[in-house]
């Protein structure tokens, strides 16, 4: 695929938010839409979310994640959106230039009239919640384990404790049970469940996996591999309650302790972030503080439902297309003024064609060399002469002026550029 230098809309990330944005951008009149994905296939995190429950609101169907993703990817590709895989966006500037790198295209600069940020989230990891103890193998985020078990075909655990009652953690409790592991329990530091109630029922209670609220991990034990974790009850301020410690033998600790919107690129583009969500400040069109840069999905705030992520993507993509089209129309109103034969430069350098309908426009220039005989100052569009003016001579030291009249508007309105030549009469 040959890359263009400029796109109407560039979408960063091909999860549900990004794919939805690309679809609506195209449907709302954006000509060239490019979606950039760092992985080797489209779909984002849905590829590994093989459980059901996706699409109940938008598609009225109970689908697994990969099927939900494929539904919208097929629609997006059939609309003619260009997809760039195995490609990393390294930098985005506030004036919407993207610097990307890939094996296929090398290091490339791409200009976008509008950008939709759809980078999603990353999982919080062990260092971010500071669990004391040894640092053995066997401490994974729930999403990492999900990728191994569901996509890559590795089984990373036999005997599991899960910290955090987020949805991914509960879903992995059931998934690992299906694959033969024993899930000892789920510990939650808060006094309430952090995921959906339906997952408590269908992922934990169905398989008799105990959930302990107001509990956390005090210490990880094991030299090479996790051998046990020390669980402890906490008070309402999350202080350990002495005497409630319990050693739970296990070989794996899964962490399901929250998601953080991934906004390194947003920051580079000058996008302001909300310290509470970790995502960009956006208006009702999902536009950030940087004009023409929009954001949609979990990169803005963490959603419960993929259907709602798609809806956010639809809105952001539509608004991005509208922004790009208004920019494109503004660009089309302007035509350049070119210095032609014996002209060194012309001011103005470009003109708004529509303003000629209102009033005359004065063009001023200097010549390259003296011509000591009568000359024509000719303004043409490459084929047709639009106006001309006679001078007795021209000299570089003396500025030359020619005026475009409002009566020239109908000719100029058809032109893509204007050139000024100075020829002997």
């Amino acid at each position: 695929m040959a890359l263009k230098n400029i796109y109407d809309v560039v979408v960063v990330g091909s999860g549900p938010g990004g794919v939805a944005a690309a679809i609506e951008a195209k449907k709302n009149g954006a000509d060239d839409v490019l979606i950039i994905e760092r992985d080797y296939e489209l779909g984002g995190i849905l590829v590994q979310c093989i459980h059901n429950g996706f699409g109940l609101e938008l598609l009225k169907e109970d689908l697994p994640g990969p099927a939900y993703a494929q539904h919208f990817i097929e629609e997006m590709l059939s609309l003619g959106v260009e997809a760039l895989l195995n490609t990393m966006v390294l930098d985005i500037t506030p004036n919407r230039h993207l610097f990307v790198s890939s094996k296929e295209h090398g290091y490339v600069e791409i200009e976008a009239r509008a950008i939709v940020l759809a980078m999603g989230c990353r999982e919080r990891t062990r260092p971010q919640i500071r669990i004391p103890g040894m640092r053995p193998n066997g401490v994974f985020t729930a999403g990492t384990a999900q990728r191994w078990v569901n996509v890559e075909g590795y089984m990373p655990a036999k005997d599991v404790v899960i910290l955090g009652s987020g949805d991914i953690g509960m879903i992995m409790a059931r998934r690992l049970t299906f694959e033969g592991a024993k899930v000892e329990r789920v510990l939650e530091i808060q006094s309430y469940l952090s995921g959906l109630s339906r997952n408590l029922v269908q992922c934990l209670q169905d398989y008799n996996i105990p959930l302990q609220l107001n509990h956390t991990v005090k210490r990880i034990m094991g030299k090479n591999r996790v051998e046990a974790v020390e669980a402890v009850q906490v008070d309402e301020k999350w202080n350990f309650i002495p005497g409630t410690e319990e050693i739970i033998p296990c070989d794996t600790l899964l962490l399901s302790v929250g998601l953080i919107p991934e906004n390194e690129l947003s920051r580079k583009a000058g996008v302001k972030l909300d310290p509470i969500t970790g995502g960009p400040y956006v208006d009702e069109t999902f536009q950030t503080n940087v004009p023409g840069i929009f954001a949609a999905g979990n990169v803005v705030h963490v959603y419960d439902l993929v259907d709602w992520v798609s809806e956010a993507g639809f809105e952001a993509g539509k608004r991005a297309a509208q922004y790009a089209i208004s920019l494109r129309n503004a660009e089309a109103r302007y035509i350049p003024l070119k210095a032609g034969k014996n002209v060194r430069y012309v001011v103005p350098h470009k003109l708004d064609k529509s303003s000629l309908a209102q009033e005359d426009i004065r063009l001023q220039m200097r010549v390259t060399r003296p011509i000591e005989q009568p000359v024509w100052i000719e303004v043409h569009d490459g084929e047709n002469l639009i106006t001309r003016k006679a001078e007795k001579y021209v000299r570089p030291g003396e500025m030359v002026t020619v005026v475009l009249k409002t009566k020239n508007y109908s000719d100029v309105s058809k032109a893509n550029s204007l050139t000024i030549d100075i020829n002997p009469r």
């Binding site: 093989i50 109940l56 990969p66 078990v149 569901n150 959906l196 339906r198 029922v201 169905d206």
Partner: protein, 123 residues
């Protein structure tokens, strides 16, 4: 004597808290629902609980080593472990199209197991 059982509806992500009222082994009333699915869930959960099942099967020559699969409808909850054992026996060869039948009428439940996505062959 009527007995009341509290349930959480899993029909959709709202997770409504339901109360099923049971008399002589029959559900005579479901309370707390916000849509018709809640009534059906409350009755089914007390009489014939069912669940969707999603897992993976091995793929020969696939773009990935595993193909995700799912039951096209919910299956009886007590059969889940046996259904997983049945599905685990299957190995398919890429390419596979999304929603193609991977296991027909799994364990005589009348429910097919379908591919959750296209699985292209290894490039």
């Amino acid at each position: 004597m009527a007995e009341e059982v509290n349930l959480i509806c899993t029909a959709c992500p709202q997770g409504c808290t339901l109360t099923a009222v049971i008399e002589n082994g029959e559900v005579i009333e479901v309370r707390g629902y916000n849509c018709k699915k809640g009534i059906d869930y409350g009755v089914a959960e007390m009489t014939n609980p069912r669940r969707m099942v999603a897992t993976t099967v091995k793929v020969k020559n696939g773009f990935h080593p595993l193909l995700p699969v799912y039951t096209e409808r919910p299956v009886p909850k007590p059969l889940i472990t046996q259904i997983l054992d049945e599905i685990r026996k299957v190995e398919v060869t890429a390419p596979v199209k999304m929603k193609s039948v991977i296991v027909e009428n799994v364990l005589g439940t009348g429910v097919n197991v379908l591919a959750s996505r296209d699985m292209p062959a290894k490039q």
